[in-house]
Amino acid sequence: MKRTPLYENHIVLNAKMVDFAGWEMPIQYESITNEVMSVRKNIGIFDVSHMGEILIEGDDTAKFVDYLLTNSFGSMKIGQVMYTTMCNEKGGIIDDLLTYRLGENRAMLVVNAANTQKDFNWIVEKSATFNVKVSDLSMDYGLIAVQGPTSEEFLRRFAPDVINLSYYTFASYTIFGKYCIISRTGYTGEDGFEIYCKWNDTPFIWEELLTRGENFSVKPAGLGARDVCRLEASYMLYGNDMDENTTPLEAGLSWVVKFEKDFIGKENLLKQKEEGLKKRIRGLEILDKKIARHGMEIFKNGEKVGVITSGTFSPTLGKSIALAMLDSQLKISDEVEVDIRGTRVKARIVKLPFYRGSVKIS
């Protein structure tokens, strides 16, 4: 199993380690609930070094990345970050990812750990007729996410300029004497930053953040808290809420599909848009304390109308919530029933997001 540069740090912190996409990762340190509350009220720091970083450079970068991704790379300025999907010819999602415009002809794609090799192979294959070079830098960089409403105030102590970073932008910094790239991004619904640093510098930066963060109640948070936070904020999780059989339109991600340019999968997505969706992701509030989990079936009037894609108990909202792929005929505030281990439990379709945190969308 692969280990991030912070493996030893997690062991010292007595983290419970699990296999996540072939990586030995901390699922929790003390308590998932407390870690979620730490992110919501103060600051939680996450090891996300397992994410993949793929560099694309060369004269055709803009042309190629625009062809590769559904969102528009060409309209990005240097220093901007963009959330996007990467689709196959059928319009199915190969991955959801962040794109960093490093330069006029340089792009960094930050992809899901489980998909890094698949994405890299796909990108290399599709790049054949373009003048670009594709490199996998995943094992060169560690990544620490600093998430929470007071994260700007905290990071400004070591990197005063982070105040100039608006949501979804990045710049290079030297913190604690180490070079890194900091972006105002994250996947928790709170204001926050992600710090890309050299693999071997990662433990030092992690330790400094924890030590100097005492007054800010900086706590390490694991994958368990990350999953709860992203679901409360209604962010999709690849492999749960979407996969190659889901299109971005069905996943509620039509905002990252730019039909005015050419890209892989456009034809089928356009067709789907014109014909209308048969199914789409919706939010559910479970009207019981039971928790709906991935794969559970959903019924209305005795007929199957969908399936749960993600579900959890939300400590922030004090109720059980879920994302579900549902028949598109169903509407907000409709009631359905979820089959939770043989018991039909009532649930209501609700507007997303479930929770809106301190993210500063400018």
């Binding site: 998932i32 609930t33 368990g224 039971k290 928790i291 959890t312 108990f313 400590p315």
Partner: protein, 123 residues
């Protein structure tokens, strides 16, 4: 007398009544408990079969009856404070009381030392 099932339930016996809960080892594995699906009082349970479940943030876990009998009391405190299972699993976080029909079944359960060994093996 306290005994343990291999499925990580503990049993404390007082006459015919067995108080049942999950062990400290089990609550630690489960993580934050957010909902305890208690059975109805009067429910007949059979040793070794799942008769209730506990939901943690991570997953739902079935609880197996360590002895056969009838549920005569449930810990209703857990409806509002499921976290008692984490805080005091072998005390205030008890789950149910079962009136046993066959006390000989207790002989199949582990004593403290054997259970401790099992936990060490399971890590």
């Amino acid at each position: 007398m306290k005994k343990y099932a291999k499925t990580h339930e503990w049993v404390k016996v007082d006459g015919k009544i067995a108080t049942v809960g999950i062990t400290n080892f089990a609550q630690d594995k489960l993580g934050d408990v957010v909902y305890v699906d208690l059975p109805q009082v009067g429910k007949e349970v059979k040793k070794g079969t799942a008769f209730m479940s506990i939901e943690s943030v991570k997953a739902a876990s079935d609880i197996y009856a360590p002895v056969s009998g009838k549920v005569v009391q449930v810990n209703t405190k857990l409806n509002d404070q499921p976290e008692l299972v984490n805080k005091d699993p072998e005390g205030e976080g008890w789950l149910v009381k079962i009136e046993m029909v066959n006390q000989a079944e207790l002989n199949d359960l582990l004593d403290e030392e054997a259970y401790k060994k099992l936990c060490e093996e399971e890590g």
